[in-house]
Every structure is written in C-alpha cells, then in structure tokens.
C-alpha cells in the first residue's frame, strides 16, 4: 500500500470547474467573438455611466469648491438688495448682537490687465474673517502689508511674484494693485486650491469698486437657533438672513433635473448593453449546446456547468467594468466641458473643474457592471444548466423554441407598456417615476421586435420570392430562421434607435417651440447689454440718449436679477416696455387675455409656466416676494410661455419694480426702429454715444435669435453624445452578432457555393439579409420612438423643467433613424461577406 501511495501524483487534481474552465478557455481562444462582445458591451455601458458621473460630480465639485472659498465655515449669510448692505448693519450685529463670528465681504468680477477671462475679487476684513474661515479654505500669507498701497493676494498657483503689480478692472474702474501675498489652502488638497480668486482688504475693495460704506454680504457662523432670531431682529426690512446650506443645496438642486436626465440616458446605455450581454451569452450557450451535452454525457453535473459558466461571466463582468471605468474616465474629460458649459448656460457659472474619480464611483460602476452582467447572463446560463445528454439537439428545435418564446413574451411586453403608461400618467412630480415609466414603455414594444420580425418575414418571404426569386427569398427566410441568434440584438438595436429618435424628435420639437417663442417674444430690432465685467447696468444718461437717437421709434428696458423667495431661487424680470413689447409675452393662462392694463396695476405679476408647473401656481394666486418693504404678496395675473429659465421667472412692470425693489439701473435695452432705418447705422450711433459703456453688446434681432439657438444647440450637445453612445453600443452588438452568425454559417455558405451560388450572389444575400434585419428594426423603432418623444414632451420635460412644447414630427428624422439602423446593420454584413468571399468552398465543406 505504501508503495502505491508513493506513486500518487503530488499535484492537486484539477476540479471539475477547473477542467470545464480550461475547456471553455480553449474554445474562447478559438472563437473569441461572443466573449469580446459581452466584455465590450459591459465596457461601453459602464463607461457611459462613469463618464457622466465623473463629469457631473466634477463639475459640481467645482461649484462646491467655489462656495467653500467664498463662504468658508459660515453657516448663514446676510444679504441686502441689489446694491448690497449698509456696512452699519455689520457693526450692529457685532455690537448690539454681540455676534463675533461675523465677516463682511464685498465681491466683484474683475479682469486682470485686460486679459481674457474674469476673476473673483473678494474684499474681506482679515481681522474678523478668520473667525468664519479659521480652519477653512482661504488662508492668507500675512506679510507686512501696511506700507503697500492697493495690496492683493493671488492664488499660490499663480506665478506672479510678491511685489509685482497688476491692473484690475471692474466696469469702467481700473486700479493698479500690488501682489502682497498668496492665498492657499491649508489642507494642501489640490482640488481645494484658490484658482480664480483674488483677495484684498475690504477697505481697498470698497474704494476700488466705488462702494464705500457698502458691503456685498455678511457671512456668519451661527450656532443655536436663538442666534438666528437675534440676527433677524437686528436686520432692517431690506436685508435678509439666509441659510447657506439651504441656499447651496437649492442651487445644486437647480441642476437636478439636468443631471437626472443625463444619468437616465447613461443608464439606458447600460440597459442596451445588457441586451447584448444576454445576446452574447445566449449565443455562447447555443454554440456550445453540443459541447455541453457531451460534457453532461461524460459526467459533469448541471451545477458544475452552471458554476463554470458563472465564473466565465464574472470574468466578463469584471474585465468589462474595469475597462469601462478607464474608458469612462477618458470620456469624462471630454464630457466635463459639455456638462460645465450646459450648467453655465442654464444655471450658474461654474469654473473649470478638474476630474475626480471617487472610490464611491468606482464601487458603483463595478457593482452596476457586475449586476447588469449577472442579470443579463442569468437566463442563458440557467438554460445551459438544463441541457441534457439527449439534447444534442437540432437547430430547428432551438429556433422553434425562440419563436415560441417571442410569442410568449407578448403579454409581458403589453404589461410592461401598460405599466409604463400608468406610471407616466400618474399625477406625481417624481422624475424617478417618470423615467421608470419611460423604461417600461420602451421595453414593452422593443421586446415584441423578434415576434414582429418573424411575422414580417413570414409575410415578406413569399412576396420577395415571387418578385425576386428564391435567392432573395432565402435572405428573408434566413432572418426568420436565425432569430435565436439575432433576436436580442435586434431588440437592442430597435431600443437604441427608438431612444435616439425619441430624443431627437423631442429636441427638434423643443427647438421649434423655442424658435417660435423667440419670434414671438423678441419684438425689438436691436438689443443692448453691457459687456463690462462687474458693471451690468446701463446709466440713466445712456438710456435717455438711446431714446433720442435718430431712427429709434421706441425703447424698452429691462432688468433681470436672481432672488430667493419662498419658492426658492428664481429670477425676477422687471420690464419697462410698451404695448407692442408686452405682446411678446405668450400668455397661456388666461388664454387669449390682454393683460397690458392689469400688468401695470400695483403688485401684479406674470409668472412663467416653468414656475407655475413646478409650484402648481394658478392665475389669481398670491406670490410673496422679498422687497424693500419686507415680504409683500403679489397677485399672479397671467402665466406665460418662456424658455429662458427652467427654475422660473416672475415678471413685473417697471413701476412695480421701482416701487418695491432698489433700482441701480437697467441691464438691457431693446430699440424699436422706424421703418426703413438701417440697424447697422443705429448700432454705430449707439457705440458713439458719450454715455455708452466701454464694452457693449449690440445685437440685432436676428443675431440674438441665432445666438440663442446656438446656445440651445450647445446645451444639447452632451445629450447628443449619450444618444450616439447608446446607438454605438447597439450597433456594435448587432454587428458582432451578425458577424458571429455569418461565421457560424461558413458551412452553409459552402453548401450554397457547391450548389452553384456565386460569391457575388452570396455576398449580396448576406448584405441583403443584414440590411433587411436593420430595416425591420428601424421600422419597428419608429412607433416606439414617437411614443417616447411624446412621453418626453408631455411628461418628462414638464416634470423636469416645467416647460411645455408643441410636438413636431420631422419626416427627415424618421428616415434618418431607419437609414441609420439599416446602414449599420448592412455594415455588419460586410466582414462576413468578405470572409465568405475568401473562404475556399472545400474549407467550408470540411468544417461541416
């Protein structure tokens, strides 16, 4: 016995799973297509999510950084009207209120030495400021500044040496400052650096900005609730105490809908990818049916087979997720510019953010990649576990099973569609529910694609046979016969094409609605705004000179500012206009009303439908606004269509504005010209006015409209990238599965060649077959895309932004969707056709 055991192999015998994995690995090496497709699908799906996540988070991080720079550890802020606060309020808070943790701040946008780009100049009181920023983000290197006039501190990343000078300009004001020190972040975290900021003593800032005795705001670090009450009791009616946490989250919240829309699109990419993972896994199982049956015959249990396939799928998930994270990070460097630009345009100015990939994002991306792969691969792997020794099956069995399945899925698809409609129809404002509804709405009809393709082929085949002969008919029959291979890829393609079409139709409808609104709203011939940083106002002299210009029939003025009312942050627009200009407001409620006279009544306001929809306001409601006299109720006399702000706009007459708010001047003017007057001549005359600001934007009606549409288009660039990414996933998947299918048919092609099919005929048949598959997917995508577009317009946009729009169906977009689907599928046939062309018949017959 002892001698026997000594001859036993010392190496641990391979387990059943290891042996199976070796078998599968060898097979993968021989034919890596499906494995690569699955990995690629996970990769692109994860990349879309990571790309958007990193870009959005990094952009917002920049917003938070800027807020931290300005607010430090302050919990509250006292703000005044548009011209700031009297500095005596600060003294009162410290002396009467005994509040030590207070810091006065004056802030302005400035330029350095007329270089492009603007900086934020903070004027602070170093003696009190440390109390609200004591361990915070803004620290100063205190040199001996007493002898330096006009000192300024620059970020430590700046190369300007201490002692050098720089000229700051704000509006028409200019001043030479001397670099007195550096501002740096104590924690040393690079993302917390002070780039974009300049700091000086508040005294110098007040003098430079011409605001002696005024403060921009007062930052406070308040403790218990009682301190807030103390502050509020000491404030005049023109000043308000705001909670910074609430303000920052309100600002961040403004971008919520935008970020949710992007996240939904990126998750849709993963959903499409999941179809392809399912498709490639099912393909693997189908291809291995005989192998698995043989393995079962040898003695492997179903559990062992499932385990080995599970390990293989885990490798796909992990490899795809890792590659997806890397690709996503690369994509985000491109996406962040688009996201930042869109947030800049729609919400608030963001600086240039740096990309950050947090551990949380890594875990989320990996979890989604693994979970998506597991869900998508579970069904085919379960099927593999059911393969019996006897099931060295025929393909027709498999195909007929798929045909049965395509029929059986119909009730589930109908249920999915109905659930989607129900979720969208609920009165809830939840965007999450709306997107869940959209996904179900899409999934339902898309799942019917194989069944529809099957029946379309049944109808088409005889007709094609009669019209073009058996060779053409064979192409149609082949599509039907290989649904087990192509069905899911076709679902993914129609899902992606319909999504792309739906979003494109929505954007197109939106674009046309905005164009229509602009045409209606913009009635003046020339629009004038100040381009001077820190000085957006047009002086009274300039206003009166504009009105007296030759060829100017009338002038309208407006002022727009951001306020924080009980409804949160929103814009306030005061208009000094005439009945012609007022008719530019597209009044939606009450319909057809002429509100000109009522608009000029005391405390009357118009609100945009975005504000009304978001807060469920109706005509006749009172809206409380913070005014010089404290909180005053204004009556909503009308609701109008406006696309300039998603977080809402309250519009009031100039009379009401002057009565209730401070008036530092208007920010834009609209000139109505006499008929026959040349706008370029008037432009030139405006520039030559003595009182004209140093820098001025004067745009004609057409220029401003074009610019607005250009801005509109830019805000949808990021959406376009995601749309195309989704389509790319689907097309890649379809191309791979068509290639795999065609390669699997090498033997069949050899038989056809042997019978007498020429290579040209076969190549044409392959391309016709793949093109027809794409055409059918494209045709099926049309009604789904239209439904999606309608849902986006009627539900998602209203819930996201409060905007309504007129639905428009551009036939060109429909044709483009069909064309894209057909061409991409046709492209999937090119490689197999080339391969077929070069494969000797004898090889194919030998393979058989």
């Amino acid at each position: 016995m002892a001698s026997c055991t000594s001859h036993l192999p010392t190496e641990r015998p391979a387990t059943a799973t290891e042996l199976l994995l070796k078998t599968f690995l060898r097979e993968q090496k021989k034919s890596p297509g499906p494995f690569m497709l699955a990995t690629l699908s996970v990769m692109i799906g994860v990349a879309a999510i990571v790309g958007i996540d990193v870009a959005s988070q990094s952009a917002l991080k920049e917003f938070e950084r800027a807020n931290r720079m300005v607010s430090g550890l302050a919990t509250h802020r006292v703000v005044g009207g548009v011209s700031g606060l009297d500095e005596r309020i600060y003294a009162r808070l410290r002396i009467e209120g005994g509040l030590r943790n207070t810091a006065p701040v004056i802030e302005a946008e400035v330029r350095i030495d007329h270089e492009p780009g603007t900086w934020r100049l903070l004027g602070i009181d170093p003696l009190s400021d440390y109390r609200v920023r004591e361990s915070g983000l803004l620290s100063m290197e205190h040199g001996d500044q007493s002898d330096i006039p006009w000192p300024v501190h620059v970020p430590d990343t700046e190369i300007r040496p201490v002692g050098s000078t720089l000229t700051l300009s704000s509006g028409s004001r200019q001043q030479v400052f001397t670099v007195a020190g550096r501002i740096f972040e104590e924690t040393g975290e690079p993302e917390n650096d002070a780039h974009g900021f300049l700091v000086t003593d508040i005294m110098w800032a007040q003098e430079f900005l011409g605001q002696s005795g005024r403060l921009g705001h007062i930052d406070l670090k308040l403790g218990p609730q009682a301190e807030s009450s103390t502050v509020e009791a000491l404030l005049p009616s023109s000043a308000r105490l705001i909670d910074l946490e609430t303000r920052h989250s309100a600002q961040k919240d403004m971008t919520r809908a935008f970020r949710t829309n992007l996240a939904a699109l990126s998750h849709l990419t993963l959903l499409v990818a999941m179809f392809l993972i399912y498709s490639s896994t099912a393909f693997q199982v189908a291809r291995r049916r005989n192998l698995l049956s043989r393995l079962r015959a040898v003695g492997f249990t179903n559990r062992e087979i499932v385990r080995a396939l599970g390990v293989e799928l885990t490798v796909v998930a992990l490899a795809g997720s890792a590659a997806g994270i890397a690709l996503g990070f690369l994509l985000s460097s491109f996406m962040i510019a688009l996201v930042t630009e869109t947030i800049d345009i729609l919400y608030f100015d963001l600086g240039e953010g740096s990309l950050t990939l947090s551990a949380e994002m890594l875990v989320k991306a990996t979890a989604l990649g693994v979970l998506g792969t597991a869900i998508a691969g579970a069904v085919p792997i379960r099927e593999a576990g059911r393969i019996t020794v006897q099931a060295l099956s025929k393909r027709s069995f498999e195909e007929s099973r798929v045909m049965t399945l395509s029929r059986r899925v119909l009730p589930a698809a109908a249920l999915s569609f109905a659930s989607g409609v129900a979720l969208l129809a609920t009165g809830s404002q939840s965007l999450g529910l709306a997107f869940a509804g959209l996904f179900l709405l899409l999934l339902g009809p898309a799942s019917c694609t194989p069944w529809l393709v099957l029946h379309a082929c049944n109808i088409l085949a005889p007709a094609v046979g009669r019209a073009a002969g058996l060779v053409a008919k064979t192409a149609v029959i082949n599509i039907r016969s290989h649904l087990s291979r192509t069905g899911v890829s076709v679902i993914a393609l129609s899902l992606a094409v319909s999504t792309s079409l739906g979003v494109a139709l929505m954007i197109d409808s939106f674009r046309h609605s905005v164009e229509h609104w602009l045409n209606h709203y913009m009635r003046a011939d020339l629009y004038i705004t100040s381009a001077v940083p820190g000085s957006p106002y047009l002086s009274d002299t300039f206003r009166s000179q504009l009105a007296s210009l030759e060829g100017v029939r009338a002038v309208g003025f407006s002022r727009r500012l951001s306020i924080h009312s009980d409804l949160g942050l929103h814009d306030l627009l005061a208009v000094d206009t005439n009945p012609t200009g007022f008719r530019g407001f597209m009044i939606k409620s009450p319909p057809g009303a002429d509100l000109w006279n009522r608009f000029n009544e005391p405390r009357a306001v118009l609100v945009t439908e975005a504000l009304a929809n978001r807060h469920r306001l109706v005509v006749g409601d009172d809206l409380v606004l913070p005014t010089l006299e404290g909180e005053v109720p204004f009556r909503i006399i009308g609701i109008y269509r406006d696309y300039s702000s998603e977080h809402g706009l309250v519009t009031l007459s100039w009379g009401n504005y002057v009565r209730y708010f401070e008036d530092p001047g208007v920010t834009s003017a609209g000139l109505y010209l006499e008929p026959g007057t040349s706008p370029p001549d008037v432009k030139e005359a405006v520039r030559n006015l003595d009182s004209a600001p140093a820098e001025l934007f004067i745009r004609s009606n057409r220029e401003l409209r074009d610019r607005t549409m250009d801005v509109f288009d830019r805000t949808f660039e990021i959406t376009g990238v995601l749309r195309w990414l989704t389509v790319l996933v689907a097309v890649t998947g379809l191309v791979f599965s068509l290639i795999a299918l065609q390669l699997e048919r090498t033997a069949l092609n050899a038989r056809l060649k042997a019978i007498g099919f020429s290579r040209t005929q076969l190549a044409a048949q392959i391309i016709a077959e793949t093109s027809l598959t794409g055409l059918l997917a494209g045709l099926i995508a049309i009604p789904i895309g239209l439904t999606l577009s309608l849902s986006l317009i009627e539900v998602v946009n209203v819930r996201s932004f409060g905007w309504t729009m007129t639905s428009r169906i551009d036939p060109v977009l429909l044709m483009a969707a069909i064309g894209m689907s057909t061409v991409s599928a046709a492209a999937g046939g090119i490689y197999p056709a080339i391969r077929m062309w070069h494969t000797p018949i004898s090889n194919g017959l030998r393979d058989d």
């Binding site: 058996l470 060779v471 060649k753 042997a754 019978i755 007498g756 020429s758 290579r759 018949i841 004898s842």
Partner: protein, 232 residues
C-alpha cells in the same frame, strides 16, 4: 426525365493532375499525376482508405478546388482555365453534388431546396416541374417539410434529386450512403443507378461494398493514383 444524353462521351477527364496540401510546413501530395476519364451514362465508384484523397478528387472535378498542376475537363470545358466565378457558373449548370451529410439547406423546405438549382440555372421552377420528381421518389408528402423533419434516407433522396433536377452532365457523390442504414442506402443507390442509366455520368466516392457493386466501373485510390479494380 433526367440528363441531357452524353452516353459514352468523355464527360470528366483528369490528366496528370497533382494536388498537394501544405500540412504544417510539410507538403503532402494527395493526388500524384493522376489520369482518369469517366463517360456519360456510367456510374463510377472510387474507393480507398480514409485520407486517400477521394473527396479531394471529387472537389477537383466539381471545380470546388483547383489542382497544383494538370488538366481537368468536364463536358469539354477545361476547369483549370476558369476563375472561381466561372467555375461556379459552370458547376451551377453542369454538375450536381451529393454529400455524405446530405447538406440540404435547413432553412428551406424540401420543395424550395429543389427549386434552388433550377432558379440558379434560370430554368422553370414551378411546382409542376418539381412535384413529378418528388412523386417519382415517393417524397410528394414531404414537399413542404423542412429537412430536419425527414429521415436520413429521405434527406439523401432529396439531395440526389437536387443534384439531378437541373439535368447536369456530371453528378459527384461523396459517400452518399455513408450516413444511412442498409435499406435506406439501397434506395439511394437505386436512385443513383437510375440517374446514371438515364445518361448522366455519376462518380461516387464510397467505402460501401454494396455501393461499389452497383457501379459500372470501380477504381481504388491509393498513393495518389487511381487503380481500376473489382468491387471487392
């Protein structure tokens, strides 16, 4: 019903044909200056051990493969002088192929499988042309069936009809009974015999003794050359 009559004419001629394969760097000569002639109306059986080159010989005659040197003529057309497309067009019209594993097109019904060569040749392909063939070989009830619902014998009969229906001058059958039981094999051989009797030249590679026995001439392929032999 079948065959343009080329009885006793030399339909397939191979002259000094050499076919070599590069087998992992080693050149393996499968056919070595092989000469062979088959006439219309004859059934020729070629036997030989596995790997001796029977299938290669049939592939060369069918224009599926090309020799390294030598000349192959079918119905007075030099196949070695044709390019791939021309060989395909020639095969389509003049040659029918029968394989061991039937090689019917699984996605087409029996009647469509038979329609295929007719359409490729631009011949009349109505049911009225095909049904008599099916009736003659007792397959009329299977006309609309798909191949995998047929027995092996039925599939091979369909394959023989498909190779014959467009009336080629040469039919090449590679182990036509290799995958069938004895009784089914016999039916297929009778069918092949009938086709040859009607004037078509049939060359059959086989391991089967019964298949050899029904042939008019017997060759054994060994060492790259054909040796005329008896059915044993």
């Amino acid at each position: 019903m079948s065959g343009r009559n080329h009885r006793d004419e030399a339909v397939a001629v191979m002259s000094r044909v050499i076919r070599e394969f590069d087998d992992a760097g080693t050149v393996r000569r499968v056919l070595d200056e092989l000469d062979f002639t088959a006439t219309g109306g004859s059934l020729v059986a070629i036997t030989g051990p596995s790997g001796s080159g029977k299938s290669t010989l049939l592939h060369l005659l069918g224009g599926i493969d090309v020799p390294n040197s030598g000349r192959i003529t079918v119905s007075n057309t030099d196949l070695t002088g044709l390019n791939e497309t021309d060989r395909t067009l020639f095969r389509r019209r003049h040659i029918g192929l029968v394989f061991q594993f039937f090689n019917l097109i699984p996605t087409l019904s029996v009647i469509d499988n038979l329609r295929l060569p007719l359409e490729l040749c631009g011949l009349e392909s109505d049911d009225s042309v095909i049904m008599p063939w099916l009736e003659r070989f007792h397959l009329q009830n299977q006309a609309s069936c798909f191949p995998d619902l047929l027995s092996g014998g039925e599939q091979q009969r369909v394959a023989v009809i498909r190779a014959t229906i467009h009336r080629p001058t040469l039919i090449l059958a590679d182990e036509p009974t290799g995958n069938l039981d004895e009784s089914q094999g016999r039916i297929v051989l009778e069918l092949v015999r009938t086709v040859a009797d009607e004037g078509t030249c049939v060359i059959m590679a086989t391991h089967s003794r019964s298949a050899s026995e029904c042939a008019d001439r017997h060759y054994r392929l060994s060492d790259g050359k054909l040796h005329e032999s008896s059915p044993d």
